[in-house]
């Protein structure tokens, strides 16, 4: 009973914040809405008995991605300009209707399908111990290869981000200085 109550509480909180993310005209407020959404999703992970994922969500998403976005928003002087260009009303309405239609299709197909009962296993694979084993075992059920690929992707993204932001700074300022 209390779990259901918490679920509805978090769901309302997250959906309201998500609505705020996609409609707020100030970019900074939008980022704060995203922060609220991510905190709510971390709460959902706790309800689903995935404590480690909840911690990862808070540390990486909130501590990393949102902070990065806030930095980008503050670096880009647009934030002083309060009102952003928005899509025309007819387009918003059309896309809103299409999204609602898509949601009803998704929800209808999900609710009409009968999911089987859970396999009678103890829910322990969400624990840190099991996740660590799965991430590093090269056996059939393990994820050692994706783990290595992800580490490569992260290093490439790191180098790429620095290169893109820096090289363009030199070039762009040089060109603008001449022009």
């Amino acid at each position: 009973m209390p779990f259901k109550f918490f679920f509805y509480l978090i769901a309302l909180f997250v959906l309201y914040s998500a609505y705020f993310v996609v409609t707020a005209r100030n970019l900074f407020r939008s980022a704060m809405g995203l922060l609220a959404v991510l905190i709510g999703i971390a709460g959902m992970y706790l309800l689903l008995n995935a404590q480690f994922l909840s911690a990862v969500q808070v540390v990486v998403y909130i501590g990393g991605i949102v902070v990065l976005m806030v930095f980008a928003i503050l670096l880009i002087a647009d934030v002083t300009q309060k009102v952003f260009e928005q899509s025309p009303r007819w387009r918003q309405g059309l896309i809103g209707a299409a999204s609602l239609l898509w949601f009803s299709l998704l929800a209808g197909s999900m609710l009409s399908y009968r999911f089987g009962a859970a396999a009678a296993a103890v829910d322990k694979s969400g624990s840190i111990r099991e996740i660590g084993r799965a991430l590093l075992s090269p056996a059939a059920g393990g994820y050692a290869l994706p783990f290595e690929v992800i580490s490569l992707l992260l290093i490439a993204a790191l180098v790429g981000a620095v290169t893109v932001a820096r090289a363009d700074a030199d070039n762009g300022e040089g060109k603008e200085g001449k022009a």
Partner: protein, 104 residues
């Protein structure tokens, strides 16, 4: 046993996905579009965890995949924001409707 069922989570994440989709298609600022993409990614990750918890509690795949989603999202956000900053330096705005210099 009176807690929320799998369907609760599925409908919730479908709604979150559609809000993200709406934002992705209606926003004209690139950073706002990136934030909408984050909503969509979170909805997908929540689905993984919900299926893991309710249907396959013995299989660690549902618990591991959201970590990969979060890692890819972090890489994507870092590169995308670097590109946005470079783009903003170049043309002084981030409006997708006006960023058409590659158009033939």
């Amino acid at each position: 046993m009176n807690g929320p069922t799998l369907e609760h989570y599925l409908v919730f994440s479908a709604l979150l996905f559609c809000i993200g989709l709406y934002g992705m298609l209606t926003r004209r600022n690139l950073i706002a579009m990136l934030m909408s993409v984050e909503l969509v990614l979170n909805a997908a990750a929540l689905n993984f965890v919900a299926f893991h918890h309710f249907l396959f509690p013995g299989d660690s795949g549902g618990a591991v995949f959201p970590i990969f989603i979060i890692a890819v999202a972090a890489a994507e956000a870092a590169v995308a924001l670097a590109i946005f900053i470079a783009l903003f330096r170049h043309q002084q705005h981030l409006d997708v409707q006006q960023s058409d210099s590659l158009k033939g």
